[in-house]
């Protein structure tokens, strides 16, 4: 009768010499499963993965998700396969209450594990970094001084077909969005219209609390912080409509803080922007707006104070003039 601690007990009742090659068995099952899963992910899932290919940043995000899924699938399949294999092959037989074989280390297994996991982590680091740099921040807000920028011409006036970068300021406030176009006299709109195949720079800011500008189909998401210019880049690749949502809980109407967006031809955009600029110039909106700036201090309203502020006793809802934190009725 053998002791439970003796190597002879390894593999249950199977003599050690006749132990099957479990590693090769597992590999033989794992390889075709992994190849099949990767093919399905790449050729079936990838074209339908969010957020689509409406813009360069969206297409890069879709590509990233597909590559990461292909990278993860063999690992997941390997773990699950080993788990199932262990349960089926190495489970305790009925009536066998012996201890398992003591393990004294296995250089081959340890080396495989360390090299494999290191390779995976290194791959993710390199891939993630490249995919952050190449699409100029991948559609995310890079803060006021972006490191990775989109190529294009920095111009004071935007011209169709000239690869000029279109500057668009996104202003969040409870609970609506406003978009300003500094290359069109600082005109503003509640609809985000953009030209196709044009490098676009978003300058995202807020007038009150923190919001988040999320143009899902464009693959752009950037926090809108008061007094901060958060810059994000993209280039729309198709014409069509999209929706902008707020992605930062900002009060009762957060869920309804949406606005419409349209990507149109460059000439149609030019016509639209020029028409809005002309209308806002004619009705006085442009002169009523503050001078275009990357951020605004809503507590500074220079026009006030020149005349009516000297009228004592005016009592508006919040007291005629409000501070940033706590408007007090005088």
């Amino acid at each position: 009768m053998s002791s439970p601690e003796t190597p002879a007990a390894a593999g249950g009742n199977t003599p050690p010499g006749r132990e099957p090659a479990h590693g090769w068995r597992l590999f033989a099952i794992w390889l075709p499963l992994s190849v099949a899963a990767c093919l399905v992910i790449w050729f079936v899932w990838y074209p339908h993965l969010p957020p689509g290919r409406f813009s360069t940043s969206a297409a890069h995000q879709q590509f990233d998700i597909a590559v990461l899924a292909v990278s993860a699938a063999p690992v997941i399949i390997g773990v699950v396969l080993y788990f199932i294999y262990a349960i089926v092959v190495w489970r305790a037989k009925p009536g066998d209450d012996r201890d398992g074989e003591p393990i004294f280390g296995n250089v081959k297994v340890q080396a495989t594990w360390i090299i494999g996991t290191s390779a995976i982590v290194l791959w993710l680091f390199v891939f993630g970094t490249v995919e952050l740099i190449v699409p100029a921040g991948a559609g995310a807000g890079e803060g006021p001084s972006p490191i990775w920028k989109q190529s294009g011409n920095q111009t004071a006036a935007w011209t169709p077909g000239a690869n000029d970068i279109l500057q668009v300021q996104v202003i969040g406030q409870q609970w609506t969005w406003t978009y300003r176009y500094p290359q069109f006299g600082g005109m503003a709109s509640t609809v985000l219209d953009l030209p196709v195949d044009t490098p676009i720079t978003f300058h995202v800011t807020s007038l009150d609390v923190i919001h988040s500008f999320w143009a899902y189909l464009l693959g752009v998401k950037a926090d809108a912080n008061p007094a901060v210019d958060n810059v994000a880049f993209t280039t729309a690749r198709q014409t069509g409509s999209f929706i902008v949502r707020c992605n930062e809980l900002c009060g009762i109407w957060h869920a309804a803080m949406t606005s419409d967006g349209n990507v149109m031809s460059q000439t149609a955009f030019k016509a639209w922007a020029t028409a809005v600029q002309a209308r806002e110039k004619a009705n006085g909106t442009l002169s009523a707006l503050p001078r275009y700036s990357l951020t605004y201090d809503p507590t500074v309203i220079p026009q006030l104070g020149k005349d009516l502020v000297q009228v004592a006793g005016i009592t508006g809802a919040a007291g005629y003039f409000y501070g940033p934190a706590n408007p007090v009725t005088p």
Binding site: I171, Q173, Q174, W175, T176, T178, A188, T190, V191, L207, D208, V209, G251, I252, W253, A256, T258, S259, E280, N283, G284, T285, A288, L289, P290, P298, I301, Q303, L304, D307, L308, V309, V311, A312, G313, I314, T315, G316, A317, A318, G319, Y320, F321, Y322, P324, A325, N326, P327, V328, T329
Partner: protein, 241 residues
């Protein structure tokens, strides 16, 4: 304590927490549902809606909050609610009485009238004796920064409707704002009368709000009445005509 007793105690505690949550939710939902909805019906393909915004209100708990009132089209009584119903795809003729004083817009872009028919409003101001201060004016912009002439706004962002509501004449309203709520033209306060029209959209619920941060005493002026149905925000329910 046995394992069974512990389990039972845990289950009872869990049910108490869930029950308290359900009670609070039902209580508040119930409270919200008590807010009356004013039904406006079309006549001749048009519907007339009347609102007023006041510097205070006649509630027992929050009398200092600014608020909108909605007029019952049948009784002509002003109801303390911001829920109203209009038929779909119908011309809505709005009348808003502005009894509250001026407060500047945080974003002066919304001084521009947008989404009304003609992108204009008609404004007339009255003094505390209910005498008009000039003729009605048609405006496409009421610059809240230049003349402190806007009290609140009426905005339905999802249909692109943004209307600055004129305040009473600033000089005339000094110490002369209405003090009895809901206000009336003869209640001793200066006011403005603003009218405009827009086409109602398809059936659905459309939130409307004021874009002036008029929640005095709250962070950024956007708490309190700005975030409470029945005060400075509400729903326009659009039903099939």
């Amino acid at each position: 304590m046995s394992v069974t007793a512990r389990a039972a105690a845990l289950i009872v505690a869990f049910l108490c927490v869930v029950g308290a949550g359900v009670f609070v939710a039902v209580y508040y939902i119930g409270a919200a549902s008590q807010l009356p909805t004013v039904n406006y019906t079309a006549s001749g393909g048009q519907v007339s809606v009347a609102l007023q915004e006041d510097p205070g209100n006649n509630s027992a708990t929050r009398p200092s909050w600014v608020t909108y009132y909605t007029q019952d089209p049948t009784t002509k009584q002003w109801l303390h609610t911001t829920l109203f119903t209009v038929p779909a795809h119908t011309r809505v003729n709005m009348t808003i009485y502005g009894y509250d004083g001026c407060t500047p817009l945080r974003n002066n872009y919304f001084s521009q009238v947008q989404g009304t028919i003609g992108n204009t409003v008609t404004v007339q101001q009255f003094n505390k004796n209910n005498r008009p201060l000039g003729l009605p004016l048609t405006e496409s912009l009421i610059n809240s920064w230049a003349h402190c002439s806007v009290g609140h706004t009426f905005a339905i962002p999802n249909i692109g409707l943004y209307v600055p509501v004129a305040s009473p004449n600033a000089y005339n309203s000094v110490n002369n704002l209405c003090g009895t709520f809901p206000c009336t033209p003869t209640s001793g306060g200066a006011y403005s009368l603003e009218t405009f029209s827009f086409m109602s959209p398809g059936p659905g619920s459309y939130r409307w709000q004021c874009l002036i941060p008029c929640g005095g005493g709250f962070l950024n002026g956007n708490g309190g009445p700005m975030q409470t149905l029945g005060w400075m925000t509400g729903f326009m329910n659009v039903v099939s005509a």
